[in-house]
Symmetry: C2
Subunit: 341 residues, 2 copies
């Protein structure tokens, strides 16, 4: 297994990306390809005592795509960027998966243009797993596709279901459709049309569809997979993030508000840390792009070495899980009459 | 001032509604009209020692609209319901505002059909205020209008701004448009078109528009008013509610996880209670319907007497604030060429 890391990506590049790659190589017995400015990377490897490690391969890429690059053109305009080089390596079979902590839009466009979508898949989707105290809830799409068709949402339902089955270990993932109420009559025209398609797929025994779910189900565990368009998914994900941040900030204030509280805080510290860790987005792992021919994972922009190493573990699982083969073998069911063919 | 209470509404009717009305009458020197089954209400008043209170007026309504009634037809099908009677009293000037804890959709449809929209307002919107550690953030719309036009969103921006100015005491409320990114180019076609209209309104000096905001801004305080369609607003509100509930549940588990934590929990209890109270939806107050000719407030379905009394206080402020007159006097600016006229 060989995992390609876009070493110049994210807020902590290249240091944490390189250290994360080294950590993953040592702990997971995996080959890693570090893509970026070779001289800088070599120096960092030397600092880690990993300069001579034969399982760490360097690929030179002089250029960098950053947050200011236009996502829709970045990979074409900068073919020598670490992101473009990494994606081309994946395309050409020089590795099994790509991890990048860089510009999300550029990575998605790049993955679509260079690695390409699975034949018959209309749009690739971003599918992060949110903690829910159990195995987690997969949210698909969370931002890749602002405007969707019912067919896209049907495909997200299938892809999310396959991913959750293999990666979260849920034999029959419960797929819910995000709406503004649980009743079948609720939702936009898009939601109502997608509801009918998902219901048909469930009637044919291909997925387990539990109907509409609500924003409250982000953490309720009622659904294993929540299907929505990228606009609504983004709102949901960021609202949850913002709410967690706000509550954690206020919790901290409450625990330092008085001498009495400070004393109590010392006693509850260990148990609270477990909660904080559970809610930390960096612990959640990277976000896979589903619908691309090979695994591409977006790591959080502020990933540290530990988060990069977690993303490598996730990439290895993704490759081993056979999710992509499962999507390919079901593709005929995932298209609708009058779709984009 | 006379506030009309739909005494048969919500999970705790009529007991908590009647007790809330009595509480409000005593504490706020306001007249209350209790609408519902007079015999039941009379008995409850007797228990509170308020049977002879001349500032508590009873209006008989034999029927009840509940959660199983179809929202779009309920008020027409049940003209003798407490909700329909309450709204007709408001329409006929027998009171200054209506409070109901009942079926949200039925209340909205009823308010639109019976009390009617302000002339020129295309759709009434639901606008709850979320706590943000400061004066709160108004979210408009949060569920009344699933499918919107750019003009509706423009009107929500104005109405939210007027309400926040008077009710939250913010001289120049910062209005943000919910999107999947802060850049002007982000969003659905609806968002982009509404962005242009809100920008024009700001250029003319009529509102303060800060551009696109994200889900993370629900509690960040960056915007005082967040404008969105009812579908997305519902997702945002319910995701925030679900996240708070999940975190509070896990916080409770963490504080009882060990003997040490239990001891610490005793010490932090008071300071944590303030946090819990701040995040409690019942403390937030009711949700006003903006765009209706007279104030209609939806109280939370599980409102207790204290929450009902808070909703009465909010209704009194709403009447005194002159929000409706301000909307009426600005209505010409709030319409667009090619709108629904």
């Amino acid at each position: 297994m060989r995992i390609i890391i876009d070493a110049m990506s994210g807020d902590n590049a290249p240091g944490e990306l390189v250290r994360g790659g080294v950590l993953a190589q040592r702990e997971q017995n995996v080959d890693v390809v570090l893509v970026g400015r070779t001289a800088e990377i070599q120096k960092l490897l030397l600092d880690c005592g990993a300069a001579e490690n034969p399982h760490i391969i360097l690929e030179d890429a002089p250029d960098i795509i950053d947050m200011h690059d236009d996502p829709s053109t970045a990979v074409r305009r900068k073919p020598g960027s670490s992101m473009a080089v990494a994606l081309n390596l994946l395309k050409n079979g020089a590795g099994d998966a790509v991890i990048s902590a860089g510009n999300t839009g550029a990575l998605l466009t790049g993955a679509t243009l260079l690695v390409r979508r699975i034949r018959g898949i209309r749009r690739a989707a971003m599918a992060p797993v949110l903690p829910n105290g159990g195995r987690g809830t997969l949210l698909i799409d969370c931002g890749a596709n602002v405007e969707c068709t019912p067919e896209y949402l049907l495909q997200f339902g299938y892809m999310g279901s396959f991913y959750a089955k293999s990666m979260l270990g849920i034999p029959q993932p419960k797929v819910g459709l995000l709406s503004n109420g649980t009743e079948d009559t609720k939702g936009t025209e898009l939601v109502k049309a997608a509801h009918a398609l998902l219901q048909d797929a469930a009637a044919a025994g291909r997925i387990t569809f539990i109907g509409n779910v609500e924003g409250t189900d982000m953490f309720s565990g009622r659904a294993d997979v929540i299907v929505t368009d990228g606009y609504s998914g983004n709102i949901m994900l960021k609202t949850a993030e913002g709410t967690i941040k706000f509550l954690m900030k206020n919790l901290k204030s409450a625990l330092t508000a008085s001498t009495r509280a400070k004393l109590g805080a010392l006693l509850v510290k260990n148990d609270l840390n477990a909660l904080k860790k559970m809610m930390d987005v960096r612990e959640v792992g990277g976000t896979p792009f589903l619908g691309i021919k090979a695994p591409v994972i977006k790591a959080h922009g502020n990933s540290d070495a530990r988060a990069v190493s977690s993303a490598v573990r996730q990439a290895v699982s993704f490759v081993n899980a056979g999710v992509i083969a499962e999507i390919e073998s079901h593709i005929e069911f995932m298209k609708i009459r009058g779709g984009e063919d």
